[in-house]
């Protein structure tokens, strides 16, 4: 089955790949397959596997979406050097479909992880902390905000 690829008007090559069809499905499939891999390697309960997936998802997405700034290409001449990936997508427009999807995914993962561990204590605390940090970082009010100067430029 075929999909049509519309060409976006986003000039930032670091983020325009996110507007093509198939990205959301790939993201969800990667999360699902990593859960299967964690389960098979560690031989733990499914709840613990979801918690591990949730926390590693938190670490990876926080690092790449909200910590790393700039683009991996030199010929952008550094115009995006002060913006994290999250601040660059959709040219900084807030509340677009992509942003809403990316905000919902950690929440859904949190619900699955807490449900499958039966809301038990040490996991619940870490999961809640992770989802709180991720969702707050994605608020429209946090656009270009650097709390206490963390991750600000020199």
């Amino acid at each position: 089955m075929y999909v049509k690829a519309h060409r976006p008007t986003d000039l930032n090559r670091n983020t325009e790949w996110f507007t093509y069809p198939g990205v959301w499905t790939t993201y969800i499939l990667i999360l699902f397959f990593s859960w299967l891999i964690v389960l098979s390697v560690l031989n733990c309960s499914s709840g613990l596997a979801w918690t591990i997936v949730h926390l590693s998802h938190f670490l990876v997405t926080y690092h790449f979406f909200h910590w790393k700034k700039g683009t991996p290409f030199a010929d952008d001449q550094g115009i995006y050097n002060r913006l994290t990936w999250w601040e660059q997508i959709d040219s900084g427009k807030q509340l677009t479909r992509n942003r809403k999807f990316l905000t919902v995914v950690p929440v859904v993962l949190y619900l699955i992880a807490s449900h499958t561990t039966d809301y038990q204590h040490p996991m619940l605390f870490f999961n809640t902390l992770a989802v709180f940090v991720l969702v707050v970082a994605k608020f429209p009010h946090m656009h270009k905000v650097r709390i206490f100067g963390i991750n600000a430029d020199q």
């Binding site: 049509k4 060409r7 008007t9 325009e16 790949w17 990667i30």
Partner: protein, 489 residues
């Protein structure tokens, strides 16, 4: 509009994700090793900050042997490619003295002027003896010879505009003219797939830049209306000038621009039109006069016509054609005219001779034959590829045809397999194209004979089966089924 099979999109994202993850892992270990090893550059800032060169180091260098292959002869239909080998997994490549004779499907040799030509080459050699290889000065100092004035008249006549100005380099033509024409308070609306020279020129001009969806006149109208109503950013004053920049043939897509609609919209909203005919001048149109002739647009409606001599004329340099006042103004202000060395005299003579051949002024009909041949070759090749099941982009009559590859692993596979069978193709990937849409771009020339094209089709079909890029079902054709095509899934 490109149709991708959904599964291919998913696997392409997954492949890039994997390549990215491995790259990050290797960078992480590299950081640990470098931390242990002391550096003798204490206090200096790093040349590359953070991830700037991540793509080059971790993705491009892995398949570096598919790009930048040195050649050892003129880029005619068949040429010599120098073989290279690498001892450290493609980080450095060393040349050998062996050469292989390959079919050239990558050079922009649309009319076959890249190799020596019976009319052009003797005249170019004569002008080399008379004027020497370089004028050694800028146009305004001592660099205007009789050849330069003859060339400007010749170009203006060919493009059917009152006057023209010629520069030594095509890229510089765009990046030095746009800052002169536009300044702060102006608006540049450019197609989203415009060439890097236009993007650079627009950024250097200081004007506000807006982008409209590729080749979509309705979106252009929407952007124009929105911007005219809004005015300049923050002050909301009316714009000083609005210019719309489009290309004749887009080199990565092979598509023709929808010029009649775009010109109509620009007339309605009183915006200037800048047409970059780098790939279409000399290659399309009944007498080779480019996309205006092909699509029936009056050249008086296009305000500024730009083009380069690298593709169809077998030379180097670029030109701008427009009204006499515009060209006079550019001669006073454009830095490429005032400070840059003028175009080399033998190159200028080559352009004049090739224009004469195209127009038939040399007394033979070779020009018309070349134009007919490139049209037939392009249409034949494109239809055959589409019948075989490849996804080929581009309009009919366009000599540029990209074959979609999508997956990052198929890029080096296709390129290397074709080279083994003596066909040289150019593959393009991210970031020159969008992430998903990596392609192999084929440029057809008038000097390709029918046998060359048939051989190329056979090789591409075999390699396509091996690599798995026949995304569409092949049309059942008795002749091709006899050749034993098995669809590999």
């Amino acid at each position: 509009m490109i149709t991708i099979p959904y599964l291919t999109a998913l696997t392409t994202y997954f492949s890039y994700g994997l390549l990215f993850a491995f790259g990050q892992l290797r960078d992480f270990f590299r950081k640990i090793f470098d931390w242990c090893r002391a550096s003798n550059l204490q206090g200096y800032a790093p040349i590359c900050l953070g991830l700037e060169d991540f793509y080059i180091r971790r993705l491009y260098l892995r398949i570096q042997d598919c790009f930048g292959r040195p050649i050892a002869s003129a880029p005619d239909a068949w040429f010599d490619v120098v073989e290279r080998y690498s001892n450290d997994n493609n980080k450095t490549l060393k040349r050998t003295t062996k050469k292989s004779r390959c079919l050239n499907l990558g050079s922009y040799n649309y009319l076959g002027f890249a190799a020596s030509d019976e009319y052009c080459t003797p005249r170019a050699i004569e002008s080399l003896k008379r004027f020497s290889p370089s004028t050694c000065s800028a146009r305004v100092d001592g660099g205007t010879t009789t050849l330069h004035t003859e060339l400007e008249e010749c170009v203006a006549n060919f493009v059917q505009k009152p006057a023209a100005i010629v520069f030594g380099m095509g890229y510089v033509t765009n990046s030095a003219i746009l800052p002169v024409l536009m300044g702060k308070g102006g608006l540049i609306i450019s197609d989203s797939l415009n060439h890097n020279s236009i993007v650079n020129g627009a950024r250097g001009s200081g004007a506000t830049i807006r982008v409209f969806q590729h080749n979509t006149p309705s979106h252009l109208e929407k952007v124009l209306r929105e911007q005219i109503a809004d005015g300049q950013p923050r002050t909301h004053r009316p714009w000083k000038k609005i210019i719309v920049v489009v290309e004749g043939i887009y080199s990565m897509e092979g598509e023709l621009c929808k010029l009649p609609e775009i010109v109509a919209i620009c007339k309605k909203y009183k915006a200037y039109v800048y047409l970059d005919e780098a790939h279409s001048i000399g290659a399309v149109g009944k007498s080779g006069r480019g996309v205006c002739e092909l699509l029936g647009v009056d050249t008086a409606d296009v305000d500024i016509m730009m083009g380069t001599f690298t593709k169809s004329f077998g030379s180097c340099g670029g030109y701008i054609a427009g009204s006499k006042e515009l060209i006079q103004y550019l001669k006073y202000t454009c830095p490429a005219h005032l400070y840059a060395t003028s175009i080399s005299p033998p190159a200028a003579q080559q352009i004049i001779s090739s224009i004469k051949v195209i127009l038939g002024e040399d007394g033979t009909s070779r020009g018309a034959q070349k134009l007919a041949r490139i049209r037939e070759n392009s249409n034949f090749f494109r239809s055959e590829l589409q019948k075989m099941g490849f996804e080929v982009l581009g309009d009919n009559d366009s000599p540029v045809m990209p074959i979609m590859l999508y997956n990052p692993a198929k890029i080096p596979a296709f390129s290397r397999e074709c080279l083994k069978q003596n066909v040289a193709v150019v593959t393009v990937a991210f970031p020159a194209t969008p992430l998903l849409l990596a392609r192999a771009r084929i440029c057809i020339s008038a000097s390709h004979t029918k046998e060359d094209l048939v051989k190329a089709l056979e090789v591409i079909s075999r390699v396509g089966d091996l690599v798995g890029i026949k995304y569409f079902p092949a049309e059942p054709n008795k002749q091709q089924q006899e050749k034993g095509m098995i669809k590999v899934d």
